[in-house]
Amino acid sequence: MNLSIKNVSHTYDIEVINDLNIDLQNYHSIAMIGVSGSGKSTLLRLLAGLETPTEGTLTVNGRDVSLSDHRRSIGMVFQTHSLFPHLTLKENITLVLEKTRGIAQEKASAIADENLDRLSLADQGHKLPQNVSGGQAQRASIARALSIDPEIIFLDEPTASLDPILTDEVLSGIEKLKTSGKDFIFVSHVLSFVRDFADYVIYMDKGKIVEHGTPDILDAPKSSSLKNFMSKVR
């Protein structure tokens, strides 16, 4: 994917980002890391088109992110699973496919089965979100994001609300998607996952991009801020 951020400033909640600029070509999995409030989640939301920046422009694969074409080309996974609780895991997928993509019932059902299977949920599709574990629900929400066949999947700290065991379960589910041909932009605090899964890392602090590069920057941080971050996070 190609990604270009020009002179972007924005405030969301307590996060403020300030005059960001970056231009990336041909990466498949871009990680954004940093402490809470560093601006990484805001940047993710801006790139997903969920927020409009007060200043500047963002383009992904040559498209301005404010266009509805961009929205329709992405899948999104949030900190909590965001499944519709009155629908089974499978219905969560088929509803989206039938109503927003105009896909016929049978085909939608087949796509749902395929994607649930990809996330090892083949036998859970008939259950309501409240009757599966947090990890399974989050994996179902990843399956739902995949099922619309997006170009890029955005993951906003997908394991933030899970315990370590469920975190592993969800992250290994995501790692299996490396060969799926999809691109990813994600925020995560799990550095081992960032190392394995990302081919580019953006480190943010206080609303600025402090360091960026291949995951090697994690092993040889140049700035004192990233050094400090690495010493505190596993």
Partner: protein, 244 residues
């Protein structure tokens, strides 16, 4: 399971024994037969209680929804109106609300139909409680679900039909049933307006037969016959349908 049944039977039995004890220890002998020729009157009152309560339920759902929209409105006056109205109602006893409506507010508008005014009083009184349950029902859909709807590109109509309303109804049902129960109990106060609901019907019977204890116990049991199944149904509904 068997233990549970036993415990509940014992608890219910204890209350039954208490009622029988109280009934048999009246100054005048307890003769349920006194009610006999007033059965029709009391049953009529019973159904009128259900009818007015149902009207008040539907009415207050409508006014409550309007008040909820006002509270959510961008218009500052509407929000202020909601705050002031809610505070006033919270501070008012239901009996006072009904009497004010029937004897003070109604006449000011040249209306003297007391039963109708009484029901309006009941509706006005329940309105902020209804607005509250609408508020909490809509609030219980987390922001991330709305974001997900955005990202997937659901239209506004689709959002309501397939996602919001099916959830809100399930969340709304239990507190709505609780409010219905509140209304049924509150409707007993309409007797002060000489409206022939259950309470007033029983009073008529009592004044003619002097069967006070018989009347009150019957009335009490009849209220419970409506409200307890309602609360049991609500619990069943919560167990069966609630979404976490």
């Amino acid at each position: 399971m068997r233990n549970k049944t036993l415990n509940y039977s014992a608890a219910i039995g204890l209350f039954a024994v208490f009622i029988i004890f109280v009934a048999l220890n009246q100054a005048t002998p307890f003769q349920i037969g006194r009610l006999e020729s007033y059965g029709g009157l009391i049953i009529g009152g019973f159904f009128r209680t259900i009818l007015v309560s149902f009207i008040a339920l539907v009415g207050s759902m409508i006014t409550g929804f309007i008040l909820f929209l006002m509270a959510k409105s961008k218009n500052g006056f509407f929000r202020a109106f909601n705050d002031v109205f809610t505070e006033i109602i919270y501070g008012t006893p239901l009996l006072v609300a009904i009497i004010m409506m029937a004897f003070v507010v109604g006449p000011a508008f040249n209306t003297y139909n007391r039963p109708v005014l009484g029901v309006i009083g009941l509706i006005v009184y329940i309105t902020p409680y209804m607005a509250n349950i609408f508020r909490s029902a809509f609030k219980s859909i987390p922001e991330e679900q709305y974001l997900a709807m955005d990202i997937f590109g659901f239209t506004n109509v689709q959002r309501y039909i397939y996602i919001i309303i099916p959830q809100v109804i399930r969340i709304l049902m239990p507190p709505l049933m609780n409010n219905f129960s509140l209304i049924i109990k509150g409707s007993a106060l309409l007797n002060v307006l000489a409206y022939r609901e259950l309470f007033y019907s029983v009073s008529i019977m009592q004044s003619r037969t002097f069967g006070y204890a018989e009347g009150y116990i019957t009335m009490w049991i009849l209220y419970i016959v409506i409200t307890i199944p309602l609360s049991q149904f609500t619990r069943y509904f919560e167990r069966r349908w609630s979404l976490q």
